[in-house]
Each structure stands twice: as C-alpha cells, then as structure tokens.
Amino acid sequence: MGGKFPLSTYLAERVRKLLDDKRAWNALPEQVRDWLSLQRDISKVPGVRELLVETFPRADKHYLVCYPFEGRLAHQTLGMLLTRRMERARVRPLGFVANEYALAVWGLGDMSFMIRQGRLDLNALFDPDMLGDDLEAWLAESALMKRTFRTCAVISGLIARRFTGEEKSRRQVLFSTDLIYDVLRKHQPDHVLLRGARADAATGLLDLRRLGDMLLRIKGRIVHKELDKVSPLAVPVMLEIGRESVYGEASDELLAEAADELVKEAMS
C-alpha cells in the first residue's frame, strides 16, 4: 500500500474512472479483472461520483466499509469523525482502519439491521457538517493536536528539543508542551502557536480540504450494499486490521482496563 504520502487527487480520480469503465478493465491483469468481476457480482463496483458503503457481519463484529479513494490521511480523519457519530448513534464502534482507497469501521451494533430499521441514516452519518462541531470537539482533546503543537513550540523556540542520550533531569527542567497546550487553549485560544498547530494539522495530517470536497461530492449519492460477508473489494483494507495500529485516542477506558487486570488477578 505504499508509503505515507496519500494518493493524489489526480490519481484517485483516475482510479475511480478506471473502476467505473468496464471496457478499461481489459487493460488490467487477469487476476484484477476477476477480482473486480467478483465484486460486481457480490456487491457493486463503486461509480465515479458515488460513495459505496458496504455493511456486513464477520466473526462476532459488524463492519462498515466505504470507498472514498481520497488517501489514507483523509480516511483516517473520516474514521475518527465517523466513529464519534456512530458512538452517539449507539452503534458501539470499536475501531477503524484506513488505507489509500477505503475505510473500515467495526463495532458491536448490527449496522445493516440499524440501517434497515432507519435507526442509522447514512446520509446523516456522512453529512459534511461533521467538519464543524465534531471536528472541533475531537481536535481539542486529540493527541494529534498536541503533537503538532509540540512541533510548533520547538520551531518557535518556546522549548528546546531533547535529544536521545542527553541527560534527563530528575524533575523536568524541560517542559512538557502538553501542559502549555492545555493552559493556552483555556486562557488564550487564539494564540499564534495554537493557530499554527491547527493550520499544520489541517493540511499535513488531516487533509481536511480533501475530506470536505469528498463529502460534498458524495452528498446524496451514497449507495449502500447490505452483504452477508466481506466483499472482494473490502479484503485489502480488512487485511490492514492488526497490521496497522488502530487509530484511536487513549482514554479512561484504557486505564480502567489496566485496573481491571488487577482486580482479576486478585480474584483468581
């Protein structure tokens, strides 16, 4: 799946067109042709302007896989925002993984059933308004913003970078930028370094513009396929599960889990 540079918009457009044009498939290797034909029979090959969303059960979890072809960064951002919304819709999402073409989200709730029942509305789920409050709420607490802020703080000379091997002080002479970040966010939210971190994250790490363009492009053009098993097109992104670390925020749950181990140990 290549390196860390996301699939360019130009290439993404080409891939979408290629998939949509059955005649162009003749130029593809036989295995790829077979793979796409199988996808067409089992589910659907995504069209140029639409967003294909598949839902299916696997093992004891339920999966939602979509194919925006917008590159890993935009997909990761989408995954972060989608899982927040799915949390609210009580789909009980557990995690997600992204590659250059697709995004897979899994959870405990039966998404196919919920969509059938009208309890989960895909158009609402993928509405561009996720780039408003949901984005802000996530960013404010996100480790990603703190990391970006640290880079800005080092560049500005606010703090010095510590190199491996340099002697560590007994109690922090150098400064944790997370602490500065928290204080600044509360007492001077328009601080130039916060704005810088925000701008850096938006372009370099979140690919917000691209995600926004995509959400507008597919608005009202979501095609949902309810499947009883994983589709051929979903296989590559499903294979990333476990290989790629799940992109999520550590939280109290993580601490609670560690504390539970202790309880279990005591009870056994």
Binding site: L179, I180, L254
Partner: protein, 233 residues
C-alpha cells in the same frame, strides 16, 4: 473508618489508606481527610511560567491563574476547614512577589474562614508572612505527618517527586499524574498547571516504598484508577 464507605462511594470516589486513615483522593490530585475536613495539595509551583520567562524561556504566563482556578474548584467541592499546601507552592524564592493583584486576591479569597498552612519546600524554603496562613516545615495530625520531601517513614504524606504513571494496553499508552501509596505512606501528584512528572518506576520511589508492591492511583478524565506500580512504567 471503612464502615462509613457506602457502595456508591467506592464507585465514584477513590480512597487512599495511609496508616489506617482513609483519605479521599480527588480527581484534581488533592487529598481530603473528611473527619478533619482537611484538604491537602502539593507542588503548586505558582509563577513557574514567569520564572522561566525571566530566564528567556517565554512560556505563556497563565499558569498561576490556571492553578488557582483548579484549587478554587476543589476547595468549593469539599469546603475544607483547613488547607495544607505541601511545599513548592511557589516556583522560586521571589515568585510570591510576582503574583498579580488579581491572583493575590483570588488566593486571599480562598483563605477566608479556614486555616491555611504553607509547608516549605526546596523551591520556596523561606515564605513571607504576608501571604496569609502560617508557614511550617512539617505538620503532624494524628498518625499522619505532612512534609514536602518524602523520607519513607510510616504515616507520611509528602510531595516533591511529582509522581506520574505510564500505562499501556493493547499497543496504546497514556501517561498521567498519580498518587503513589502502599498503605503506610503516600506521595502526592503535583497540582500546578506547569508541573511535569517523574515516573513512579524511578529509583526515587523504590527508595521510599522499598517493596515493589505499591499502587499508583492514576488521575483519569472522569475517575481515578488503581493500578499496580509494577504494571506501569
């Protein structure tokens, strides 16, 4: 004392036992001794921002207002009769002179109708008398001794070391401030907005607790989590 704990208490509050005294470990990093209505906070490091700024490290100057704001919130929550600031309340010897008028007023407001004890620490060994409250090197109440630097003695509640714990589960990890406690003695987390931390796996803690069987009471977002120190790093 354990008799007064209800099931609800156990879920929503975390308790720290030190020499048979049960104290409420507050999510903010403060300790509250209910019978004495005593609130303890450690290592406020007020004016740390301006202290660094004077040396050319231009940290944003909001740390004192942030720390006092959090202190006001925890005082409002418990309405203590007495407050002990367990040393290193000010980041350097002249830090108290740099308090802004509004911060000074906020501090005075917190001291109204309650006893206030400043324990001196290595950062603030000589506090002036005009800060309100009394200054002491250590205080003993019942079986508990409150002092800044931990000695490892039984019944001691100290600060100074700024304990923090890193916990990792399934490839994700997070680091938080924590109380360190083995039932006989405790080290409190630093309360100040700009205070970093020292891992509880550092040799400094091994010296105080001697046995590795002490616990980290980790400050989460919504509650405290009790995790064996040996499980953290």
């Amino acid at each position: 004392m354990a008799m007064t704990r209800t099931a609800i208490d156990i879920v929503t509050r975390s308790w720290l036992d030190v020499a048979d005294v049960s104290l409420v470990a507050d999510l903010s990093g403060a300790l509250f001794w209910e019978e004495q209505r005593l609130l303890v906070v450690s290592d406020l490091h007020l004016e740390k921002g301006s202290s660094f700024a004077a040396r050319g490290v231009l940290l944003p100057p909001y740390d004192t207002v942030a720390t006092l704001g959090r202190l006001a919130a925890v005082i409002a929550r418990h309405d203590p009769r007495m407050v002990i600031a367990l040393g290193d309340s000010f980041h350097d010897r002249t830090a108290h002179e740099r308090l802004s008028d509004s911060d000074r007023d906020a501090l005075s407001a917190l001291q109204v109708r309650r006893d206030w004890i400043w324990i001196s620490g290595n950062h603030d060994p000589a506090l002036p008398s005009d800060l309100g409250g009394v200054v002491a090197t250590e205080v003993a109440i019942g079986p508990i001794a409150f002092r800044h630097e931990p000695t490892g003695a039984a019944g001691e509640i100290a600060g100074h070391l700024h304990p923090k714990a890193r916990v990792s589960t399934r490839g994700r990890s997070m680091e938080r401030r924590c109380f360190a406690c083995d039932g006989e003695r405790a080290v409190m987390p630093a309360f100040g907005a700009y205070t970093g931390g020292l891992s509880i796996r550092d040799a400094a803690f091994a010296k105080i607790f001697q046995t590795p069987g002490f616990m980290a009471h980790v400050l989460g977002d919504v509650r405290l989590h009790t995790i064996a120190a040996s499980r953290c790093y």
